[in-house]
Amino acid sequence: MSLAPETFDELREIAARYPQARSGLLPMLHLVQSVEGRVTPEGIQACADVLGLTPAEVSGVATFYTMYKRHPVGTHHVGVCTNTLCAVMGGDEIFACLREKLEVGNDETTADGSITLEHIECNAACDYAPVVMVNWEFFDNQTPESASQLVDDLREGREVVASRGARITSWREAERVLAGFEDGLVDEGPAAGSASRVGLELARERGWAAPGDAHGSSDLPEELPEAVEVADTRRAESETIAEEASDD
């Protein structure tokens, strides 16, 4: 089955964001996944048609990236970080626990089609290790028990909210966001988790700050207008230095 005309329109819309249409290929493949549940031959053909490429060229790109799937993905994608730091902190145990519980191997989908389990690489959240991702949303500081509860909740269709992110929709809806279409969930979740703020809070507690920052206590002007003045003089000084440098 060929893709719907609306999908073709959206594929063209993605390509049009770039000075050269081919740059749209990665987000276009994300859109294909959101519509088709995986990268299908029809999806590849559609990208090829829109971009004037051969299906082989598109396919060659799709197979290079781990987020593109050839097999149907479940309603939810559950990724367990097993790169070294998370693995050591318990990611290996979490992954083993979920594999057993869901009775699937790596990159496989449960019989009921609800969950695809995959071990993933470092997801830039090591300070929250061990980390589990659901549809690429962060679930921080997991244990085998919490991860087990998490997949139960997902399978039962209960509301699940990311540690630092939005309430969980589905893998396909996530793929649509990655293709560049907003889903209105941007304002859910916090600005930062506690580990992200730990240095900031310690600095506030101890009155530490960068020079000129009104939050600090030491060697700083008391009032804001003065701070601005200081900043202005500094700017002037640096401009003078810049001028001197370019005079040489």
């Binding site: 000075p19 050269q20 081919r22 740059s23 290929l25 990665l26 987000p27 060659g60 790109v61 290079f64 990236y65 781990t66 990724g79 097993t82 790169n83 070294t84 730091l85 693995a87 050591v88 902190m89 318990g90 290996d92 145990e93 690489e121 470092c122 997801n123 830039a124 959240a125 090591c126 300070d127 061990p130 690429w136 244990t143 630092r164 966001v177 990655l178 560049g180 969930l185 941007v186 600005a191 930062a192 506690s194 580990a195 992200s196 703020r197 730990v198 240095g199 900031l200 530490w208 960068a210 020079p211 000129g212 920052d213 030491s218 500094r234 700017r235 000084e237 640096s238 810049a242 370019s246």
Partner: protein
Amino acid sequence: MTDTLTPVLTANWGDERAWTLPAYAATGGYDALDVALGMAPEDVQTMVKDSGLRGRGGAGFPTGVKWGFLPPPDPENPKPRYLVVNADESEPGTCKDIPLMMASPHTLVEGVIISSYAIRAERAFIYVRGEVLHVVRRLRAAVREAYEAGHLGTNIHGSGYDLELVVHAGAGAYICGEETALLDSLEGRRGQPRLRPPFPAVAGLYASPTVINNAESIASVPAIVKNGADWFAGMGTEKSAGVGIFSLSGHVKRPGQYEAPLGITLRTLIDLAGGIREGHELKFWTPGGSSTPLFTQEHLDVTLDFEGVAAAGSMLGTRALQIFDDSVCVVRAVLRWTEFYKHESCGKCTPCREGTWWLVQVLERLEKGQGSPEDLDLLLDQCDNILGRSFCALGDGATSPITSSIQYFRDEYLAHLEQGGCPFDAKKSTAWAEAVQ
């Protein structure tokens, strides 16, 4: 004397709805843009150069100097210039750009606008790894808000300057963080590194002059413009100026992001983080991600700036401080990283493609206690054949954990052979393991 911690980029991360334009504007956000637009682009460049800002993506190349490599516009053959932000953050241990873009995407967007103005680019891209959905949401919303407020688009703030900015999500490939692979990926191809020269400054995106900078590098620009080059240069050490985000993970009591002047030590940072996990001692750590040679207890007082770490035999990299205590088997850790490099090798060059495969074979054998002591020499020999012979720095990086771990922990490898297996209990390393007394 600068304070021990100096929140600049992280300063607003605790603010209510920090990711929105009103919250960012309330902290003076986009004021720096006006300052910059009131200057000549060259002067903004000079300011960044004078600040001493060095690339925060790992290599530490001076940012202003890099911008200066763009060839002067050629009236005969005018080519557009591009700014590409590297927000692929995938180096194991590195976890600073992602929280930055989640909490305060406007800091990066403002940095992009000022930096693009400084290099006279009319288009910019933020290449963010795909596996961070909420960060992609926040970036896109920030860009939309910036357009609506007239910070992006045509005639920005009435200056006559135009800029288009696109947020582009990747699709899962560590190698796309390598700047030339990133460009190929952004052109809709497989992400494989390009031969240099030509350098991206001359022929980058669409063969046009291109600057590629790390997200933290670009996010540092507004504060520099606002507070002056001297302000930034006055922090940090002589050759490694300014502040940077240090990311502590693993076996410390309070892992997380600590923004400090470059030159802080791990001893101080661990102290701030409440110490090593109860009942344990520091065993090994990475100063700048898994591609930087491991350090041990003896390196606690190394100054964490580019020079200090290099002099001690490693690299500052991305300040990704992964802390492992004495419960952790170094062979297990190194094997897992090596499996990562094997998986992520793009396959373009033989030393890395074949070499990382062989490294995993030998390490697996050793970890199971099945190899022989000669396997250690074999490993070092294989590393020798990869290091400096690979097409890009991924191959080089793959050898770092291996050679450094053999240097510091040869006996531990041998203990695996003597015992016929791993002498460690992995359960004792987990976040939920009982403290040992």
